[in-house]
């Protein structure tokens, strides 16, 4: 299994814990990631300015994967939807494809239909599946409770994704997390948007949207919120302190990327899974895991790590 790993803009700069853990989990499962040097922005940030420019940018990336005969594995929800949507538009509209290829021709690239684009989490679900993952779990995670935030573009618009999950009642990420033995805790309005796309437009609205989510998730006792998109994590983790100050709340809710959770279950060291980079420290969760798995190690003990810090 070889995939061109599409990182997008945010992950390699602000979400290295996502990148680190995804690479390690892939390695442990025998998935090969190929880094394509020319991969740049997917096009999402310029869609409001010029939707056709977005298609050109998306096509530029897809063309580079197709030149190497590779499928694309994305980590960011927005990249997933933008690349998939652009491919769909170009495949159904020869005029658009011609215009895009006229631009790409200037830099010796050509968009050709047929490159498969899937989110890492979808690849894990479809190509491995919860049963197989469960068979590989080394740690007992049964004492941990997680809530899941899917993020919008992993599921919607549903016409892009061939029904691999139910956009109104999704289950794939739940099942992946449950494959570790951990429990998944539902919560009110779990499909609500993080607000990330309008953070730069009206910070107050975006942060209120994120606040509602944090309120709903922490209404239950969970060890962490699990995400699969860097935008969502920026809203719930990077902005958590700001939201706490704005609204006079205390959440102290760790936000983990799905591969960090799966990596722990696979017995990978928390250090190689980038836990040091999580802004809301997951030390209680790591301690719980260590207490339940005295023979196994999740890296240095959470306590010792805290002392070192």
């Amino acid at each position: 299994m070889r995939y061109a790993l599409f990182l997008g803009c945010t992950i390699p700069v602000r979400g290295q814990n996502y990148e680190l853990s995804a690479r390690k989990v892939a390695e442990a499962l025998g998935i090969e990631f190929v880094d394509v040097e020319g991969f740049g922005c997917c096009g999402f940030p310029v869609k409001s300015t010029d939707a056709e420019a977005t298609t050109v940018l998306a096509a530029r990336n897809i063309a580079q994967a197709s030149r190497q005969g590779l499928e694309i594995c994305t980590l960011c929800n927005a990249c997933t939807a933008v690349l998939t949507h652009a491919a769909r538009e170009m495949d159904g509209d020869e005029g658009l494809r011609g215009r895009v290829n006229a631009e790409l021709g200037k830099v010796s690239l050509e968009y050709k239909p047929g490159v498969r684009i899937r989110h890492f989490s979808r690849i894990l679900y479809e190509d491995f599946g919860p049963e197989k993952l469960s068979g590989k779990a080394k740690l007992d995670m049964s004492q941990l409770n997680f809530s899941i935030h899917y993020g919008c573009h992993y599921l919607r618009p549903k016409e892009l994704y061939g029904g691999f999950d139910n956009a109104e009642d999704p289950k794939t990420v739940e099942k992946l997390v449950e494959s570790t033995g951990a429990k998944v805790v539902g919560y009110k309005n779990r499909l609500e948007c993080c607000g990330g796309a309008i953070l730069g437009v009206e910070q107050e609205i975006a942060l209120k949207m994120a606040k509602d989510k944090l309120d709903n998730v922490t209404a239950n006792r969970v060890d962490a919120l699990v995400t699969i998109c860097p935008f969502c994590t920026i809203m719930y983790e990077d902005n958590q302190k700001k939201i706490e100050e704005m609204f006079g709340k205390v959440y102290n809710l760790p936000v983990l990327y799905l591969p960090q959770v799966l990596g722990l279950a696979l017995g990978l060291d928390q250090r190689v899974l980038g836990f040091r980079l999580n802004k809301v420290k997951a030390k209680d969760l790591l301690q719980k895991l260590e207490d339940a798995n005295p023979q196994e190690t999740t890296g240095e003990s959470a306590q010792a790590q805290e002392v070192r810090r």
Binding site: V46, D50, E168, C193, V201
Partner: protein
């Protein structure tokens, strides 16, 4: 008060000809979009059904110069739930694109376009970033993409590069 002399009856055709705008005239104003909108839940200025009505009525200036068209979070909830397949998220993109053509660009999107147009990425990468990545055992990433500038030259994004 809405005066018919201020309305532009062709606005709906203009929107429907823009990329993503094609289905605007299908709307029968049921409000499913608005009922499920997470932004509307927080701020009443953003009202999808109202925006569609304004476009269909021809309130061109009011819509294009508004602050509300920039508030769609592109969650696609309305897009999926609309019984008429109006594709509201794409219509909001079409409206923003027309507004940009008319010179009304929200500063946040102007800046995003400038960054992507200049560097081929949303963030400017410094040597420091790649050193940090190296320490983590991650491969370096390219700082700028000259070919992106080339292919965006004729677009509105290219026009925002200094």
């Amino acid at each position: 008060m809405i005066y018919s002399k201020d309305l532009d009856p062709n606005f709906k055709y203009e929107v429907s000809a823009e990329m993503g705008g094609i289905n605007i005239m299908r709307c029968f104003a049921c409000g499913a979009c608005t009922a499920g909108c997470p932004v509307r839940e927080i701020d009443e200025r953003y009202n999808p059904r109202r925006i569609i009505r304004m476009v269909l009525l021809g309130m061109r200036e009011r819509v294009l110069k508004s602050d509300f068209i920039w508030l769609c979070s592109t969650c696609y909830t309305c897009y999926d739930r609309c019984p008429q397949d109006v594709r509201l998220t794409s219509i909001m993109t079409a409206l923003k694109n027309i507004a940009v053509k008319e010179g009304h660009v929200h500063p946040s999107f102007r800046e995003q376009a400038r960054l992507v147009g200049t560097f081929g990425r949303l963030y400017e990468i410094e040597d420091f970033d790649n050193k940090k990545r190296e320490k983590m055992g991650l491969p370096p990433i390219k700082k700028t993409f000259e070919d992106v500038k080339e292919i965006l030259k004729g677009t509105r994004v290219g026009g925002m590069v200094e």
